[in-house]
Symmetry: C2
């Protein structure tokens, strides 16, 4: 039986593993696809303090080698269930079963879908949720970007270096992204007679239309005028929020499915902690994920030491 | 009037400034002594994810240049009072008065004193709270180290490379430090006939005794046997906890004087936020301070935007 299982290999899980391994916990990390989580597919990160600018892949590599230097072991698999047997937690993946004294859920979150006609059909053939992954396929082509948050604006900036023209569709009349990102996007150099980015405010996507070769056009509706227009585009990038990867865990969650924790990262299940994007945090950033992970590991270690019947004075700092 | 004043230039304040400046807030940082806070005087940091091992000074420089790249301006001064006038906050230092819409208190914490006879008298002449600062003065000499937490054990490891012999005095019968740190200290190579580190458990310091040239001996009392002994030593390093630098702020605090916040870093005063070591956080690490700072800046920015009468949809992630 392990001391600790960390579910998820993103920033939160890797930070937790650094703290857990330094505390000499016997632990494994279970990861679904690849180490790094959402940061691994992020183009450029400029707000993780200490690194002025680097790619998500570079930061992932630094986190991973940091953790592996302390002895991180990773099992690949999809966690399907956590069974709470009090002092013993059973973690079932699609292929194996593990046991541990405690669990840190750092399973992250995934992009929210528009849920419109054509979205599912053309996913991978014009519909994308990751500019870094799919952007280069749209070199010199016209694309639609949907959303108004940090991610939408950041990815639109990235895509504007590749695509011929971007139609930026947002359901409100302004972005909620960081101002510095907004300015960057709004100041994209215009071409001779056609601005590189068209802003289509107060509008939503009604349908994604295509054929054999993929997406051909996108049907857009203005919510104020209730007017429809069609935009010819070979790609549509959707950044309209995130949903947490928390279906396998029975802990208390908020309306969005995010795991509810206190400031010690404790969930409603004793010995189970949550850290990073999958919990009900006010901000989802690398900087906050590493803090969550550190706290979760330290509190898990206290819990395990107490299980072992050791007196363990409350940590003061 | 500034949008934001950040009080304190440690990890929390610098992280907050990176986020605030990227959000195009008009802000200044007020710092008492020098940028970096507690990390600046830390010997080696090995648990800030992404940097396997570096000195506190190096990490400080990285944080500082990261923030200055986005335009950080620093005013030096000791904050004496924050006056809450609703939408306007007045921050008084020992020499100047500033006004802003919002304030982030990231003023950190400072070492707790033993409050024993001789402590104050010999501070700087044998009594120290910073191994990195003062350790080298005790090359080949005998010293006492007091405490049992992460900092005490970490600093004892550092000092054991310098001093001739260390007497490690702790009021309990075990350390509460990270196990990896404990192991490192307990396995310090013993000399031929004298171990480099003597562990004196269940004991407290009664008095620090010295003369013209500084500390000469330390009087130690065993709490279980109520026996006294004297230890000849030229230095005593004290690591028995921290007290927050929060006397200038009227927000709600816990018994230890740490500012009480919610998970959005909001204090009991609207428009005033707290981040890092000065707040009632379950863990005081660089990793947690940067997360706190990021959240405080983002929430402050929302608050300021709302003050300006702008509709500002709640940030989703």
């Amino acid at each position: 039986m392990y001391d600790l299982i960390i579910i998820g290999g993103g920033a939160a899980g890797l930070s937790a593993s650094i703290y857990a391994l330094r505390a000499r916990l016997d632990m494994i990390m279970i990861e679904k696809i690849g180490i790094g989580g959402q940061i691994a597919v992020t183009d450029v990160i400029e707000n993780y303090p200490g690194y002025r600018s680097l790619s998500g892949g570079e930061l992932t590599n630094k986190f991973e080698s940091h953790a592996k230097d302390f002895g991180l072991k990773v099992e690949f698999g999809v966690v399907e269930q956590i069974i709470d047997k009090g002092d013993r937690k059973i973690v079932k993946t699609d292929t194996k079963t593990f046991e541990s004294k405690s669990v840190i859920v750092a399973s992250g979150a995934q992009p929210r879908k528009l849920e419109v006609k054509g979205e599912k059909e053309f996913t991978g053939r014009g519909v994308s949720y990751c500019a870094t992954c799919d952007g280069p396929f749209y070199n010199g082509k016209d694309i639609v970007v949907v959303g108004g948050g940090d991610t939408a604006v950041k990815e639109a900036i990235y895509l504007s270096k590749i695509a011929n023209r971007i139609y930026m569709v947002h359901r409100r009349d302004r972005f909620r992204a960081e101002k510095i990102l907004q300015e960057k996007l709004l100041s994209r150099p215009a071409e001779a007679d056609a601005p590189k980015v068209d802003f289509i405010w107060n509008s939503v996507i009604d349908e994604i239309v295509g054929g054999e070769r993929g997406v051909e056009k996108v049907s857009v509706r203005n919510l104020q005028k209730n007017e429809k227009r069609e935009i010819s585009a070979e790609g549509i990038f959707i950044f309209v929020g995130i949903i947490p990867n928390t279906e396998f865990i029975d802990a208390e969650k908020d309306n969005g499915g995010f795991i509810i924790t206190n400031d010690r990262m404790e969930t409603s299940i004793k010995g189970v902690y949550a850290a990073g994007d999958c919990r009900n945090t006010p901000l989802r950033q690398v900087a906050t994920a590493v803090g969550d992970g550190a706290i979760a590991a330290v509190i898990a270690e206290e819990y395990i030491s107490n299980l072992e019947g050791k007196a363990y004075p409350k940590r003061a700092g």
